[in-house]
């Protein structure tokens, strides 16, 4: 039974990915669709960042992740390279957890 659930879930996840990629070009070329599609990753990723930073399941939680992401934002303002930003975020969260 678990195998059936695993395989059906995997198939469903794949079809969702494929569906987005398969939207016909003539629809993508409509100006409204183009504007929305261009903004979609910004909205989805910004929402994802907020949810990953501030929630656990269906609860809002403030913990070491917020400190890590806060430091990452400071690093970005100071124009640190990508890898430095990510490493600082992880190190900050790890240190905050160690102390707390």
């Amino acid at each position: 039974m678990i195998w059936a659930a695993v395989l059906l879930t995997a198939a469903g996840c794949y079809l969702l990915k494929l569906a987005g990629l398969s939207v016909p070009q003539r629809i993508l070329e409509r100006p409204a669709v183009r504007r929305s599609a261009a903004l979609l990753p910004v909205a989805l990723l910004a929402a994802l960042v907020a949810v990953q930073t501030l929630s656990t399941g269906e609860r809002l939680v403030v913990d070491a992740r917020l400190a890590g992401v806060g430091v990452a934002i400071v690093a970005l303002i100071l124009r640190a390279p990508f890898i430095v930003v990510v490493a600082l975020a992880a190190a900050t969260a790890a240190v905050v957890r160690l102390i707390a």
Binding site: V6, T9, C13, A43, A46, L60
Partner: protein
């Protein structure tokens, strides 16, 4: 630096050297390593939830979308029904369909390449593809992240599934802050115009407000609706240039 969006930051070219294949692949490797370490955690949780090593690895190979996989094994581990586990996973996987809509014109995949590329349409590959100076660099971002992350995610899953929970919680190493930090860093250069900033901030607020009210996965999808709503408004058209001048035109 011919990309028009960087014109707002004249000094930017010094501190932000333009993306090249090498820098993109290097960043992809960093994301893949951090995510692969998270794969170890997924493998351990999968087995602890009652899945076999093969079932846990099959999820990483075939479903290959982290949030959905964690929800799936989390619900089964908590004694939930298989149907609930599958539905929660699909709900969380739905955002990949929206990523696909954006990536469709950027990657321009046809036939077998589309069937293969679809498997890799996830948060990380999308974040690494959008906002590049040229469609070619967007494809470098997508494919380098796809190949490296897929490899390390599956290797990590196998290690975690075999080794169990002895390797510890990824939170100990701050890896749960690394993922959102990476996404912010990838979004950052795109938040140059007021509309992108407003959409990003609005989406984040909507998602956080909805977290306690609706099942996991829905907050991010509703936030995506913010983008669609803004895009549909004709009056919201940018007066000079679309948000992504360089990548929009060439297909």
């Amino acid at each position: 630096m011919p990309a028009p969006k960087t014109e707002q930051y004249p000094p930017k070219s010094e501190q932000y050297p333009p993306d090249t294949r090498q820098t993109i692949v290097r960043d992809a490797a960093a994301i893949a390593v951090a995510t692969g370490a998270y794969g170890i955690s997924f493998g351990a949780i999968g087995v602890a939830s009652g899945l076999s090593v093969a079932q846990t690895c099959a999820l990483s190979l075939l479903a290959f979308t982290g949030a959905s996989q964690f929800a799936f094994v989390g619900i089964i581990g908590g004694g939930g029904a298989l149907v609930s586990a599958g539905l929660a996973a699909l709900l969380l996987g739905t955002r990949n369909a929206f990523y696909g809509v954006r990536l469709a014109s950027l990657l321009n995949l046809r036939g077998l390449r589309r069937l293969a590329g679809a498997q890799f349409v996830i948060d990380e590959t999308t974040a690494m593809a959008v906002g590049r100076r040229t469609p070619e660099l967007a494809r470098v971002g997508f494919w380098s992240t796809a190949i490296l992350l897929f490899s390390l995610w599956n290797l990590g899953t196998l290690i975690g599934a075999v080794a169990g929970e002895s390797l510890g919680d990824p939170g100990t190493y701050g890896l749960d802050a690394a993922a959102p930090a990476a996404f912010i860093a990838l979004l950052w250069p795109r938040l140059t115009d007021t509309r992108s900033r407003a959409v990003g901030a609005g989406a984040a607020l909507v998602a956080v407000a909805l977290v306690p009210l609706v099942p996991a996965g829905i907050p991010v999808l509703v936030a995506g609706a913010v983008a669609i709503a803004v895009g549909l408004r004709r009056t919201a058209k940018t007066p000079n240039g679309t948000p992504e001048p360089a990548t929009e035109e060439a297909r």
